[in-house]
Amino acid sequence: MFSRALQLLEIDPELGGVIACGFRPEGEVPAGRRIPPHAALAGYRTPWGYQPGLLEQAGRFVADLDLLTPQAQAQLAQRLDAGGCTLVAWAADPVWAHLAERVAFLVPESQHTLQQTGKVLTRGGAIQLISTAAAQLGVEGHQAEWFTLRAAAAIAKVDGRRRLTEGDVAEAVALVLAPRARAAAAQAPPQPEQAQSNRTAQESAEAPPRQVPMVPLPHTRPPTLRPTLHGAPVRSVPGRRRRGSLDLPATLLAALPWQKLRGRDTLSPAIRPQDLRWHLRRPRQGRLVIFVVDASGSMGARRLGQAKGAALALLQQAYRERDQVALITAAGREALLALPPARAVEQARRRLLALPAGGATPLAGALAIALELARRARRREGRPSSLILLSDGRANLPHRAANRSAIKSEVKRICLALREVLDSTVVAGQPGREAIELAHWVGGSFQSLSRTLSTSPLVPNQPI
């Protein structure tokens, strides 16, 4: 299927591109301009003129989307709009929608194409078929239908036929529309009747109650200015070594008064390391909010429901403030990074709702993941992190510690490390010695989950 899509793309570059979803097409990737992470995608000014960016070229771009930041993917999407290029890419995570919209083929793993011909169609007949299929599959937008028509035309061309057949349209629908229908179906909310009948008493008790406890999102300190590459430049600082981006005008202004002494004039100034000025930036808006949800047996169904409700409300709030969110679940045998840091609140919401309960509490493991995420966010993007821990603090599964008696000291050790990296923390749970102790270690505040507020603005007014 992947190679068929490549073949069609070759025939009609207007089809935008091919993205392999969930697998890496080894050996099938054609040659092209590889987009490495951290490449200068956009052009930039230098004293020696304009330096064009990677994306300003034409031809075929090849990328591993998992390595690219959302910003880079957005730039890639804009580049595809401009035309004159195609994209061949792969992604393990769900493909970011802005990019998916601009390529015809989202190829799932292991599907073979159907080869059939069938009745010859008029152009109008083909259009009717495609629109009907799109409407039935519930495909969003109208770009995909357009891609389908072009793909069908390309298929006919590959086979050396002038007129479209039913088989061409069927194959194009399978290649272009079908993968999008699945995405739409996955996003659709579950039918209430089905959900009701599948639910046991235990599960419905876990569903978030209408009255959710109010847990305030921790406050952030005003961000410190840093010499990074992202965010609004505020002012510049001198420095002989490279730190972030060069403030060229400021550098020139610093150099110009010295030109006489350096034996040069202002038309061809000599720039020395002491002249260099670097941008200090207010870090990119938004922090990383890490949710750790303890769904172990000790939390109990009712409390887990409360925790889910609180987490959902916080999730929306985090979204509105343009924060990134990550979700870590602690239940069963090991802690799980259920949602890697992203702005994908919808996904976080779905995974949170689907969270199973029961089992042991691998709290130390969950906290270790949180620590790693917070460190990475700070190192890579200068992004501050906040932790929201919904737990009763009763850890009973060790992370690396050899025996159970060491669990407590292990949790404490990770908490102390977290305290160094985190901007703020809230621990929310049933009041108890363990939970309060946890909040103390990690340097955060404790909120009781039992305090429910019916008039809170965070109360969802419809069942989720």
């Binding site: 910003q71 152009r123 109208h142 005008p249 400021a250 020139l252 004039d265």
Partner: protein, 308 residues
């Protein structure tokens, strides 16, 4: 090249978006249009098509549409010290940015919710004042920059912060067309256009000319449009009932209604004018429950029915 653009009149469906763009074209002081909705629903095509229909500028140039790349920084948007001139000739001169290029035209930001907030803020400032002021690096420049800011995005990626949302004049929701006949028509027209652009545009030429005449007439008529007392009262009452903060809502509502009257060739704002634009001008200003997935449009329509 001008024949190679999809005609505005040939766009199928999306009445909200089309009306919002037309109103903004008649009155650029409305404060920009935000188009939110499903992907692949001809957002950028519509903006480009509209610019083609508008009467050309006094100097004969077509109305410009400037795209904002997501990689743009403040220098690129608002202009900065011209480094090459500074280095090569020792001159301190101003290199104009995208807002200067967009003067008297459209500035289009696709995926506006991905542009950094401080940049959106800066653009809204310029759009609101109609003037770009640069005071840095020893430069002190001000130049007129009157443009219609059009932002588009998908709400699934996150709404704009309320502070930014409120500053856009009109807010149009767009949805995937669900009517099968309309879907077929969309695909049919797009196919016809791509197979023979010049024949397709020729077929729509008369409709485009009519639209152009209507827009030119409306632009000329707008300064004379007056709102009588009952219209003012209805606008105020509507905003009061909706519990809007500030008075930007009323102002935009009246301006949009005036533009609507001008489009219809009338000199007075009537109550139906207000009804027609109320959702566009007000829906995004309501205080929203973050988990409430319904949009403000319904609420505005409800209140509209009550206010007579």
């Amino acid at each position: 090249m001008s024949t190679c653009h999809f005609p505005f009149s040939a766009l199928v469906g999306q009445p909200e978006m089309k009306l919002a763009l037309l109103l903004a074209a008649v009155n650029p002081d409305l404060g920009g249009v935000l188009i939110m909705g499903d992907r692949g629903t001809a957002k950028s095509t519509a903006v480009r098509a509209l610019a083609r229909v508008l009467p050309p500028l006094p100097d004969g140039r077509p109305v410009p549409v400037v795209d904002v790349p997501l990689s743009a920084d403040l220098d690129r948007l608002c202009g900065a010290l011209d480094l090459e001139k500074a280095l090569a000739h020792g001159e301190r001169s101003f290199q104009p940015g995208l807002v200067a290029q967009a003067h008297q035209g459209f500035l289009y930001i696709d995926e506006v919710n991905l542009l950094e907030d401080h940049l959106v803020d800066a653009l809204l400032d310029v759009a609101a004042s109609g003037e770009n002021i640069v005071e840095r690096e020893g430069l002190s420049v001000r130049h007129p920059a009157r443009f219609v800011l059009v932002g588009s995005g998908n709400p699934e990626e996150g709404e704009l912060r309320p502070q930014l949302l409120d500053r856009f004049g009109l807010y149009a929701r767009i949805r995937t067309v669900t009517d099968l006949n309309e879907r077929v028509e969309i695909l049919r027209r797009r196919d016809a256009f791509s197979r023979d652009p010049s024949a397709f545009t020729a077929r729509w030429q008369a409709a485009e000319a009519r639209l152009q005449a209507r827009l030119a007439r409306a632009q000329a008529l707008l300064p004379q449009v007056r709102a009588p007392r009952p219209a003012l009262e209805k606008a105020a009452l509507l905003c009061l009932r909706l519990g809007l903060d500030g008075h930007r809502g009323e102002l935009t509502l009246l301006r949009a209604a005036s533009a609507h009257a001008a489009l219809a060739g009338r000199r007075t704002v009537s109550l139906p004018d207000l009804d027609a634009v109320a959702v566009l001008a007000l829906a995004h200003r309501l205080r929203k429950d973050p988990l409430d997935e319904s949009d403000g449009g319904e609420t505005v329509r409800e209140v509209l029915k009550q206010v007579v």
